[in-house]
Amino acid sequence: MATAPLSGIRIADFTWVWAGPYCTLQLAHLGADVIRIETATRPCVTRMLPPWPDGKPAGLNSSGYYNQYNQGKRSVALNFAKPGALDVARRLVAVSDVVVNNFAHGVMDRLGLGYEQLREIKSDIIMISLSGYGDTGPYRDYVAYGPAQVPLCGLSALTGYIGGPPMHAGYSYADPNGGVHGAFAILTALYHRELTGEGQYIDMSQWECAMAVLPEGIMEYTMNGREPQRIGNRDPWMAPHGIFRCRDRSVKVFGVTIDQFVAIAASDDAAWRRLAAAIGRPELGDDPKFATLAARKANEDELESIVEAWTLEQSAPAAAHILQQAGIAAFVVADNKYLSEEDEHLKVRDYFVNLPHPVVGTRQHCGIPWQMSATPLAVRAPAPLLGQHTDEVLTAVLGLSASEIATLRASGALE
């Protein structure tokens, strides 16, 4: 069998929280040897966040958050306050292809791990810094948190119910967006290095990556000087286009019935006629009030109540199924339980990963969102325990002897 695409590529991973680990997860999925340099004195934030196995925190190796985004990586634990730790990190860089970090501006330089310093150790090193604001500009030292990047980048101002305030994306969208753009940049830099022998430094700002995926709103402003209005789940080019309430599902969590919704988008007039027929109102397909997009947009409140009168009688999966049979774009507004247990499609595709982990046992994790015909890929290992691979990496990768390792451990450099 062919080897994985990045087999033989080593990544010195100084990242933490989400954007950086999401970046290096892509590289691990492609077969790179990703070595996370961590510390117990200031562990990765996600090691200390829920979800925990069965709701009970069980130390730094039990978080579902960390365990999701660090699959297939190795972990070396160093204490940079102790003599020898920095030297280990620098020796690791010397045998790596790529250095990734998402610390605040200047932290790597202060540690002695800045690009110019690392270039002296490895002349063709590729280094990328994933930061909130980037390496230059008057706000480069500003503090960036994942949730605050969504409003900062412009997404909140554009997202919201009609007439309502700016809203969030529901998660720290700019983090994985920045991470995956960073992974792309690393791959292009590896391509360039392979052909020319030249490494380089890449400055990535999460803010800018998020604006790069927001052209609709930005171009409305640059073309017309207008701020787009918040339009909820509607769309200028399709109607109905919304999220409709279905019959409640019978699951109760903490005494609350979980409501259930279906997303429906009628792509064009023909789709509306099919939709009208599918919900038992075929006469509305050609009704002048709804026959054209302009008419449906003009009568959108009424249109949506007609659709919802039907969806309220269905379970969300049944509604999606009936509408798909009629050739209409529709899908359950999927939650984690639906994806985990009820989505027959994901099951058939073997998307999820179930690898035994020494602390949390076998838990279902999200897998690789692409597949390749010649180099089949699979998540190789569960996320590492903190420092799980310290000895293994120092011995096999850095060639240190047992006594050298013992000295480092005695000095506190290894945790």
């Binding site: 391509y191 360039h192 380089q200 800018e208 930005i218 988008a265 595709r349 994790h365 015909s373």
Partner: protein, 402 residues
């Protein structure tokens, strides 16, 4: 200086966002991209806005112009045998073919990796589909909204526990398309890199749904770890993390760590209420959010956005403005970094566009040409590149092949 992907040859058959943005990422790094559109209609993005003065025009869509700068544009009806042959000829000279043709349409025109690989075993064909190329939902219809809903992220957004009557809320724009695109670009580049090291071409399959499920932050794991369903109705355990109205706009109030809260309280001039026991730590502030919210909203309403943002950041408190589009274009930080770029297009005119998402030290991101008009490079690509005589081009045009 040339871009990192100078010399890489890409053929894109893309509609709307996913395949076009994946190919744009490559084009902006120096790859040569030939974009294939349907004769007549072209890419559906041409019919989406924004448009200058709001007037639809297939050569003036802001979304299309943004996504397709730096690409050559040809028209080709690959459902006709002669059209498919020309696609095969284009793919024969390419390193990468990237497309988001809906799987039933792939079947209809007979597009498959095996078929294209007959003439180019080194081709990396990347197929982006809403639900991938196999499985019971393979042929399901999809629009941006329904793919977003399928990914487990849409359900998390909404008005929160105090407004359960409001439905989950779509995030603006085409986030599903863009996320599928960026992941597809990663996968395609992985396959290209493998080929540099002696590998052969191959077929890369990307499921947009799976790309979104992969980025469910920690919430997917709440089910397998704890048996908890995550929805928009969950209470935030830590506070304050909320959007609030100022005198002149909106700001995002964000205190995750205790020192950030203490610094914020100092910034507010140490009001008496902030010392109440019910606000003593971040968990208590979460539990008693309804009370805290009243005090905070009242204070924040008297501030101005950029002033509060600056004063908070001076104290290492990670607030952020709710940026309007105008704020983005006028930001001194973004301006100094030179993010927005001007692109002149022969029909649409000159506008500012989002620019480089990444700044490379050695291989710059570059705009070399504006987005193509429909079929702009038919003569150059089919005539000069593939060697078709002009009479043949006329015939193909007459038959609607190009």
């Amino acid at each position: 200086m040339a871009g990192a992907l100078a010399g890489l040859k890409v053929v894109e058959i893309g509609e709307l966002v996913s395949a076009p943005y994946a190919a744009k990422l490559m084009a902006d790094m120096g790859a040569e991209v030939i974009k294939v559109e349907r004769p007549g209609a072209g890419d559906a993005a041409r019919r989406r806005g924004p448009f200058p003065a709001g007037r639809p025009d297939p050569e003036k869509s802001g979304l299309f112009l943004y996504l397709n700068a730096n690409k050559y544009g040809v028209t080709l009806d690959i459902a006709q045998p002669e059209g498919f042959e020309l696609l095969e000829a284009l793919a024969a000279g390419a390193d990468v073919l990237i497309h988001n043709i809906w799987p039933p349409d792939m079947d209809r025109v007979g597009l498959s990796f095996e078929r294209l690989a007959r003439r180019n075993s080194r081709l990396v064909m990347t197929s982006i589909a809403p639900f991938g190329l196999r499985g019971p939902h393979r042929n399901w219809r999809a629009e941006e909204l329904t793919v977003w809903a399928s990914g487990g992220v849409c359900v998390l957004n909404g008005a929160g526990p105090n407004h359960p009557e409001l439905p989950p809320l779509k995030t603006y724009g085409h986030p599903a398309g863009f996320q599928a695109a960026a992941h597809a670009a990663v996968a395609a580049m992985g396959a290209v890199f493998a080929r540099l090291r002696g590998g052969r071409g191959q077929h890369v399959e990307v499921s947009a749904q799976e790309c979104l499920v992969s980025q469910n932050e920690m919430v997917f794991e709440y089910w397998p770890y704890m048996g908890v369903i995550a929805t928009r109705l969950g209470r935030k355990p830590l506070q304050p993390m909320e959007t609030m109205r100022c005198k002149d706009g909106w700001i995002y109030i964000c205190c995750v760590e205790e020192h950030q809260w203490r610094n914020f309280v100092a910034l507010m001039g140490n009001p008496e209420w902030a010392n109440e026991e019910i606000f003593a730590d971040r968990l208590k502030r979460g539990e008693n959010w309804e009370a805290l919210e009243i005090f905070l909203r009242e204070w924040v309403a008297q501030q101005s956005v950029l002033d509060l943002y600056r004063r908070a950041q001076e104290r290492r408190v990670p607030f952020a403005p709710v940026s309007t589009m105008g704020d983005l274009l006028n930001s001194e930080h973004i301006r100094e970094r030179g993010f927005f770029v001007e692109i002149a297009h022969p029909l649409a005119g000159t506008y500012k566009y989002p620019g480089a998402p990444l700044k490379y030290g050695a291989t710059p991101w570059q705009i070399r040409m504006p987005a193509p008009t429909l079929g702009q490079h038919n003569e150059e690509i089919f005539g000069q590149r593939l060697g078709l005589a002009s009479e043949r081009l006329e015939q193909l045009k007459a038959r609607g092949v190009i």
